[in-house]
């Protein structure tokens, strides 16, 4: 019996979210008296693999197969399914990110396993297996019960902390048997966003709304992001107006985020916006309108003109950070 986690690597490296997965898996393993096994596909350095042991992973299965050089949901699912069977996985955990969201449902059908997508906390009970997830566009959370023998989860980023738990780790190759040309959907090109931290990886987000008046005023937003080591994002109208790129759009129809700190500049706080950001641990809002709904969601607020307050705040933050 085991807990299997899919540790996706990004050009051979793991991200913080991978260690969140390992820590989360480790806690379930402790409660169920099983072990955490990680599966990784492709080339990862031995140092990076060993690092998984820091967070409680006992075994790593490294899969190398030319049929997996390109991402295909079908081919990747076959590989993970074979590993899950080999290690008798009872719980299989993915990150709730684009690839995890794509593979988990497929695996769930293949193994006749119930799937809980976007889990935000440890199981409140193992029997029956009950986890908490968001529902109704983040407006509520719900207890979600999986009744099948095998359970599949996708874990929401930044909802579980990284916990060190040094463990003896064994690393081995795992051979999978994948028929050639299994996929009918094949990536032909990948375009990475230039530069900085991505919206879903950042612990701090500085977000701009229509209150900033125009793209020419984003310098101060970027400056604040630079000081706080944050990523920039925006409300939907801002991306619709093409003031900012679409991948920065957060909210119900954009990215759903849960940073430690979310700073909303000139954002009214419409329900659809809040649905995507209300998982943030701390929300700061700056808005000229004292009645803007964003202040109901915020922890700290300033009533004022962003064009006037933000530069002053940047100076104070810079001083504080000693930058």
């Amino acid at each position: 019996m085991s807990i299997l986690i899919y540790t996706e690597n990004f050009e051979g490296k793991f991200k913080k979210s991978t260690f969140e997965l390992a820590s989360y898996g480790n806690e379930i393993a402790k409660r169920t008296g099983t072990e955490v096994v990680a599966i990784t596909i492709g080339k990862v350095s031995i140092d990076a693999l060993n690092e998984l042991g820091k967070y409680g992973v006992q075994k790593v299965l490294v899969v190398k197969n030319s049929e997996l050089n390109d991402f295909s949901v079908k081919a990747y699912s076959v590989a993970i399914e074979q590993a899950a069977k080999a290690v008798k996985a009872e719980v299989i955990i993915f990150g709730n990110n684009p690839s995890g969201r794509a593979i988990a449902p497929n695996i769930s059908v293949k193994l006749n396993a119930g799937l809980a997508p976007g889990v935000v906390d440890l199981p409140s009970s193992i029997k029956p297996f009950t986890v908490r997830k968001k529902a109704y566009s983040g407006k509520v959370t719900v207890d979600f019960v999986i009744s099948t023998d095998i359970k599949v989860l996708t874990l929401t980023q930044n909802s579980y902390k990284v916990i060190e738990s040094e463990t003896e780790i064994s690393i081995s190759n795992f051979d999978v048997n994948i028929p050639a040309g299994l996929y009918n959907a094949k990536p032909i090109k990948t375009v990475m966003n230039t530069g900085k931290l991505s919206v879903t990886d950042a612990d701090v987000l500085v977000s701009g709304g229509r209150g900033l008046k125009g793209p020419e005023n984003w310098k101060m937003v970027e400056e604040m992001a630079e000081i706080l080591n944050a990523a920039t994002c925006c409300s939907r109208p801002v991306s619709d107006l093409e003031w900012r790129p679409h991948h920065e759009h957060v909210g119900q129809t954009g990215k759903v985020v849960a940073p430690d700190l979310y700073i909303a500049l000139g954002i009214s706080g419409a329900v659809q916006h809040l649905a995507g950001v209300n998982g943030s641990k701390v929300i700061v809002a700056i808005n000229t309108d004292a009645d803007a709904p964003i202040f109901e969601a915020a922890d700290y607020g300033i009533i004022g003109d962003v064009l006037d307050v933000v530069p002053k705040l940047n100076t104070a933050l810079r001083q504080f950070k000693g930058k």
Binding site: V73, N106, A135
Partner: protein, 243 residues
Amino acid sequence: MKALVCIGHVPDTTSKIKFTNNNTKFDSTDIQYIIGPYEELALTRLLEIGGLHITVVNVGQKETETTLRKALAMGANDAVRVDAEPTDAMFVAKQIAEVFKIGNYDLVVTGKESIDYNGGQVDGMIAGFLDIDSVSGASKFEIINDKAVIEREIDGGREIIEAKFPFVTSAGKGFAHEPKIPNMRGIMMARRKKLKIMPAFEQEQATKTGTFYLPDAKPKCKMVQADNVQELVTLLHEEAKII
């Protein structure tokens, strides 16, 4: 070419969410139901591409037919309602996979996620049942000859995928620019279009929802004077311990 578009029947995005039965059941009184916004984009894009026979499908009870009629008014050719309570994602996916097989479709498009349960899992499950590939969260979609070219967001960027039929894809932001609004003629025609009702196929329930929790009332927002930004920095450091 034949496309199957899954249509969610979901509460309007501005709905105030309430529950009954000790917070275990969604309270649908005074709720306006709409086509899921992503499904609306999916249908819009396929109509823009043109030349496809489009069937819209929903797994649900009689009340979802108004939503299917709206999709017909937008321009879908016909509709199927699988007559069942959509108990969980696996059940819904199984129904759609069966409808797909019976109708010999080339393509299934779902929304990226339902805005009620926020699963984002039905597309992948349909692909699992049909043993075909899937592309989730598509932000652009073209059909070029006998292939589809699909763009989707990945962590930190985007990828362009070439897909051979048949496959499943789920529509996210960008799939179409603006949802198509049905015109009068569309609404009139929709009344005469075929809406077929099918009995459900068997599939065991794998998951269920228990108690719903509304967020705790947030403590009141602490206000800081606009001319005292230093205080905000101090609060974030000392009280929130976040910087």
